[in-house]
């Protein structure tokens, strides 16, 4: 294990040479063990005759097993260091790739994931990106489900009635409009992931965060759409691409400040236009 990237003074990460995965992150003067990897749930397939036999589909997420399959045990990583951005290109398998970016002067790590075309043979795959830390989070995580305020979520718990979840994974999944986070109040560390679009997310074990990034379901769930969720383009399954922005900071407000700034800059991002300068000189244009 060695520090492969020490691009700027504020943000650092380590990569485990044996797996190719990130093993620790330093940001806002906090160093925490952190691993990020891709996994997939196998979609349940049933005959849809009774509720218990409903297939996972467009309307419902029903994994066959509660434990997702790891996409790969060994990631091929290539590092491109630069004066403005350092990129780690990670190839997980034939249908999952990711570019991890550290920008000059930015207190964040970008995970630019490219997932698809998912294999359309065998069973449906519901792909997640999972962040694993050593934070003691006491079954608690937070999501911004309504896009306005952060809501506290407690695993296997509902605030107004005693719940017994029949489906341990999907029963703990919540909508994430733009942010999901966990906190360790004793260590005073917060780990947040900002999304570039609404996704489903959860924290199924203490110290973990997961977000679903892509899925295909090869059977209809009989809730009304009447077709399998297996979108195609160019004769193959869709490729989904998006970004997760990781922020690590202190749980007593420091991280929240960074997250708010980042959310404004990423969710109301600057617009870029390209043009020629027309029939005037560059000096006139300036």
């Amino acid at each position: 294990k060695e520090t492969n990237t020490d691009y700027n003074n504020d943000v650092k990460l380590e990569i485990d040479e044996s797996t190719g995965l990130i093993s620790s992150v330093t940001m806002n003067n906090i160093t925490t063990p952190l691993t990020q990897e891709f996994l997939f749930y196998e979609g349940y397939v049933g005959n849809n005759e009774v509720f218990e036999n409903r297939s996972s589909g467009a309307y419902i997420f029903r994994p066959k097993n509660n434990t997702p399959t790891v996409a790969t045990n060994r990631v091929n990583s290539t590092i491109f260091k630069g004066n403005l951005v350092t990129e780690i290109h990670q190839k997980f398998n034939d249908w999952i790739g990711q570019i991890v970016r550290l920008y000059k002067g930015e207190n964040l790590i970008e995970f630019d994931w490219v997932v698809g075309p998912l294999p359309s043979k065998g069973f449906g795959k519901e792909v997640i990106s999972r962040f694993v830390t050593d934070l003691k989070t006491n079954s608690t995580f937070y999501t911004d489900s309504n896009g306005r305020e952060i809501l506290k979520r407690v695993r296997d718990f509902r605030p107004t009635w005693n719940v017994h979840l029949e489906e341990a994974v999907s029963g703990n999944y919540y909508p994430v409009t733009s942010k999901i986070l966990i906190k360790d109040p004793v260590k005073n560390v917060e780990v947040a992931v900002l999304t570039d679009r609404a996704q489903g997310g959860s924290s199924l074990r203490d110290g973990e965060l997961e977000l679903m990034v892509h899925r295909n379901c090869l059977h209809d769930d009989a809730f009304g759409v009447d077709e399998a969720l297996n979108e195609q383009a160019f004769g193959e399954g869709l490729v989904a691409r998006g970004s997760h922005y990781l922020v690590v900071g202190s749980a007593d407000g420091g991280a929240a400040k960074s997250e708010r700034d980042l959310a404004q800059r990423k969710l109301l991002q600057a617009w870029t236009f390209f043009s020629t300068i027309g029939n005037q000189s560059l000096e006139d244009y300036r």
Binding site: A58, Y59, F80, G82, N83, L84, V85, E87, H89, K91, G97, I99, Y103, K104, G105, E106, V114, P117, F223, G224, V225, D226, E227, L229, E231, Q232, A233, F234, G235, E236, V239, R241, Q264, R265, L268, Q269, A270, W271, T272, F273, F274, S275, T276, I277, G278, Q280, L282, D284, Y285, R286
Partner: protein, 175 residues
Amino acid sequence: QVDLNSLRQAMGVMQHHDAITGTEKEHVAHDYARILTEAIKECEIISSKALNKLVESQPSEDVNIEFSSCPLSNVSSCPFTENTENFTVTVYNPLSRPVTHFVRFPVLGEAYQITDDAGVPVETQLVPIAEFVLSIPGRKSEAVADLVFQAIDIPPLGFKSYNVQAVKRVVETKI
């Protein structure tokens, strides 16, 4: 106002619960994409007009520059930046405070010089496009690298323009 109507209508359609959750049939998803693409294209007309007003030095001047965006930049494909050797990048900041923004677009050349509004060169970097992005089905581009630069301190609700010029790479040879 007329130019904005198509996007207004598209946003109305996209409030249907199928569009929000993704429970529409596949051909409906394709239709949603068609409606949005056409609407955004129409809005380029009004944003281009607005930017033209901002770049005019005299109100009576008719500069008529066509400002375009790159909707395929998510697969590192942009015919304009790939096929133009000298062009302008205008970055608009929709926030009410100054921001610094990393700009990235695909290019075919080996070296570029970017200057800011004062003619001062800014730092640039060419980053290879990941192999798995190059092989995304349907990607039609010969670009193998993205050009990255930092647009520093774009004013609130304002813009900054940068000039991009492809240059010949100088190779020093010691004899």
